[in-house]
Amino acid sequence: MSECHYLFKSCILGAYYPEAERCLRVVFDRLDTQYVDDPAQSSCTGHGYHSGIYPLKTTLEVNRRNFSLARGKGCDDIVTSCVTSYATLKEMKKLLKDPIKIYHGLEVLYEHRNEILRGLKYNLEGIKVVTHHGCHYTKIFYDDVKAGDPERPVLLDEIATSLGGEVLDYSERSLCCGMGFNHLLLDQEYCKKIARRKLESIKKVNPDLILVHCPGCLLTLDRFQGILKQEMGLELQIPVLNYTELIALLFGVASDEIGIKTHHVALEGVIERIKE
């Protein structure tokens, strides 16, 4: 990884969980990790690309510009906060034969996991965690998964364990969260059925929180708990946290600054237990 990362911001986090994205910058600052936050960086088109609304040529050209911006800022790698950006940029880099390197923010923090421990104000002792790794991180460029097997990635698990938490297994661990790209923006039948299968399997092991590293998974697993309750009377109420929010919280960043108000499922209870 290079000295200075080009931070690649996510459309979903920017619109729905802006503090979760800000937390990545907060954590990088605490770890003294250098990054460039360039306001000129555009969307990679990923969500729309996988929905079928961008032809390949458009996605290639939009990202040729993003790669060039990163190089112009002196960065030879791009660190994304979204797993679909991660996979889309990797695919376009490959097709354009561009030498730039692409990483996900979780991979950077995974490399720094021992330094993270030194900055902790709180830990996860007594907290039961389940993890969900985003499909576009584990299943597309599966040879690049940093820890574990692509069928069973363990980056989040190892981080949660090193933070003192107990990681629980569940039967639908490798199932998609239900976001489904075009499905999310249309009738959501796919989203509701898959999110239900996933969340019910998680509920069976009764964790204190679901740890994710993907904006789409955060949105789906958090907000569909409300939709499933309203439409099917399903009582779930399992807090969902992005890895950036969790680490910022454990560093002592105030709850309102990690954006608990943007979450559908209340986080106050689990945060109180973490701080006990």
């Binding site: 729905y16 969307s43 088109t45 079928g52 032809p55 510009r65 898959i194």
Partner: protein
């Protein structure tokens, strides 16, 4: 017309000529069904099966697939891509087919609503999602992106879908 190792034909040269088809092993499909076995969308939609999409394609029924609903039911999770024992990628093939389907003028109703949301936001603000006050590109960068969208044929793509640009 290309011949398959298992003796079947594939009628759409356009699919094979797509940049993305180069290393996905389209022609190696042996119809084992492992893709459909692990597919979340196949569990939701009775009539959806990535194996069947591949079958239609290698039987030369590409136009049927392009006109039909099936390619729009995939959730793009890439479980099939991860698990295919022959290194094939039904999820990538489906993306290629979605693009071809729209190019032929089919399936407009499947994406018009999404293009009118995300595509227009990309055009105006350089992002796919936007809420009041959330991140958008500064003017100069947004103009650059708009220019790229126009030059890469995206303006024409949206117009063909019947999406009005601001």
């Amino acid at each position: 017309m290309r011949r398959l190792a298992i003796g079947k034909k594939i009628s759409s040269r356009e699919v094979l000529e797509d940049l993305r088809a180069e290393d996905i092993g389209l022609l190696r499909c042996m119809q084992c069904g492992r893709c459909t076995g692990g597919c979340p969308a196949a569990g939701v939609f009775e009539d959806f099966s990535p194996r069947l999409v591949m079958h239609e394609l290698i039987e030369g029924e590409t136009e049927n697939v392009l006109k039909g609903d099936m390619i729009w039911k995939c959730g793009q999770c890439y479980t099939c891509h991860l698990r295919c024992p022959r290194g094939n990628s039904p999820a990538t093939v489906i993306l290629i087919l979605r693009e071809l389907s729209l190019k032929r003028g089919y399936s407009k109703d499947k994406v018009k609503e999404i293009a009118a949301k995300c595509g227009v936001l990309m055009w105006k603000k350089g992002v796919n999602f936007y809420e009041e006050g959330s991140r958008e590109l500064p003017d100069e960068a947004a103009y650059e992106v708009e220019d790229i969208l126009r030059r890469s044929g995206y303006e024409a793509f949206l117009k063909a879908l019947g999406v009005d640009l601001p």
